[in-house]
Symmetry: C2
Subunit: 346 residues, 2 copies
């Protein structure tokens, strides 16, 4: 019999509530012969306040033992900005070399979008996860004085760019439309921009069936609201990916349904799956949070581990649930989780 060893990090705010639903649906969808073993970790604001720790080497060793990680949300207003982001979220992405940050955007039937005319949106963003302006390189001199200088260094390597570009081409090749857009700002950030563009064009030669285009990040934000149907697969840098995936989530149904995977395709370290939304402390503990994004993240997790049929069942269940919501009174986090668990078991 098979087993799935899952590290569970509920985290802060609504993280607890939504992760509970994710696990509920996961248990319901898994084949009988798969033994699910979960271990919960207490990372986040509480642990930080109690111990000063965000993510220790021992923590990383423990997490390494699992097949995958499911995370709710990390972040709380009581912790200074940057401490948990750099000390936990980014530290984990870097430590486990999560270089493929996968973020699908699909506008499902019945789901509200701020865009007029209900466009057809169905694309995925492959965001680089371990380089660019996220490396923490840089520094400050003369802090707090009128002569302060603060720098941020975006670091980009052929190695790092090529592996994520290859991943994106492979994903584009496997989709019916076979389209891939590179998004950067190569007319201004010419050093990094040329590296990305060169690697992209070189790898493109190996994928003659994939139609490619290049787009500046500023222009991309325009297309995301005026012609989102034009996108199929997008590959982009860490920071641009951060920005455009929030916009992509907004236009394709909101961050209530936006899932993501922080993937190490080699399998050398466990991959981590999380909703794009944060801890939303304003609605935490009220049973108001929509667990759909977490449940869809569980689908990405299952697909990553080879459970394709189960992933698809979850996605279908969420789509059906969203379609049926129209005009109905709002349900609680728990009620939505129950409904999804019933559907996937069905």
């Amino acid at each position: 019999s098979r087993s799935l060893h899952l590290a569970v990090i509920p985290g802060d705010g609504i993280g607890q509530e939504v992760v509970a639903q994710g696990l509920k649906v996961l248990s319901a969808v898994l084949p009988q012969d798969v033994k699910l073993e979960t271990k919960e970790y207490d990372f986040g604001a509480r642990r930080y306040h109690a111990t000063g720790e965000t993510l220790t080497d021992a923590d990383l060793d423990a997490l390494k033992q699992h097949d995958a990680i499911l995370l709710g949300a990390i972040g709380d207003p009581s912790v200074p900005s940057g401490v948990l982001e750099r000390g936990f979220l980014l530290k984990l992405r870097f430590a486990f070399d999560h270089h493929v940050n996968l973020r699908p955007s699909k506008l499902l039937p019945g789901v509200a979008t701020p865009l007029a005319g209900q466009p057809e949106i169905d694309f995925i963003v492959v965001r680089e996860g371990t380089e660019g302006p996220y490396t923490g390189n840089g520094g400050t001199i003369r802090k707090g004085t009128e002569h302060e200088v603060a720098t941020e260094v975006s670091v980009n390597t052929a190695f790092g760019v090529e592996r994520v570009v290859r991943d994106a081409f492979a994903r584009a090749q496997a989709r019916p439309r076979k389209k891939l857009a590179l998004i950067h700002k190569n007319n201004v950030l010419t050093f990094a921009g040329h590296l990305w563009t060169d690697v992209f064009n070189r790898v493109a030669e190996e994928y003659p069936e994939v139609t490619t285009e290049y787009m500046h990040v500023d222009a991309a934000t325009i297309y995301l609201v005026t012609q989102p149907e034009r996108f199929d697969v997008i590959v982009t840098d860490n920071l641009f990916g951060d920005i455009i995936t929030d916009l992509a989530a907004a236009v394709s149904g909101g961050i209530g349904v936006a899932a993501s995977g922080n993937i190490n395709p080699s399998g050398a370290f466990p991959s981590m799956f999380e909703p794009v939304h944060g801890s939303a402390p304003d609605i935490a503990g009220q049973g108001k949070a929509d667990p759909s994004a977490t449940v869809l993240s569980v689908a990405l997790l299952l697909r990553h581990l080879g459970y394709e049929a189960e992933a698809a069942r979850i996605e279908d269940a969420v789509a059906a649930d969203l379609a049926e919501r129209v005009g109905k009174p709002a349900r609680s986090t728990d009620e939505i989780g129950d409904a999804l668990a019933v559907r996937v078991a069905g």
Copy 2:
């Protein structure tokens, strides 16, 4: 009698056509006693191909003699990406210390927006223009090899941040709603982020009437499509400003009506005004380009030089013209320019 010495840079693609309309409307709106003197400069792709030059020291000396600069668009597919951007547009911004990059977004009646429900949009973005990731710092080693490393350095100084933050507070204080949002990514770009946040909070103490908020750039893209009415004045870094102002233009009527000023508030160098759109080579020479963005840039130019009444007359004329377009056949670039000239003279 007064005079206005204007440097005119039609540039590439549709630049020629739209600048002609801007000048037409400028002539029509200026008081009788103001002597308008224009001098045209041939910067852009043609000059680059003919001479290899983008913007020489002699050019800068010549431009320096003018009261202001009106630019159409610079950029052509025949020139490698980055050459004209870094060699002309950014070189000019840096040389003339255009640190306030002003970009208003107002959704005018009758103007189409990709957003559902025709929200009320009326805000301005004060984008820093001379620092951040735009400085050209960085470099490449082992170019073209599998070991290539490319860096981009974002440089941020207390001096540079404070002056643009002060400009934004003064603008917020002068507007009815008196709201100012700082947009950054201070949870990841902690060095630059802390500098921006510290300076912002310090200057805020001098403006007790201004309501402030901080927002991450990724979250800002969500609010720009779900709640654009929440914004009044935004102050942000060079790159974030580049990205969100294209999105802002898209939601508030498109880049056909988005104006901008590259302003040196001290007056030490002439300021430069330009439409946000580029050279649009695909429609160049066909009389299809909407000159409204250029005409609105002329309004910003006039306001900067103290011609407030004339600036307002142009803005009213463009608003009236746009409102009357609904359901009418499309007019040519020239026809729109003529109509606006008649209105402002009226």
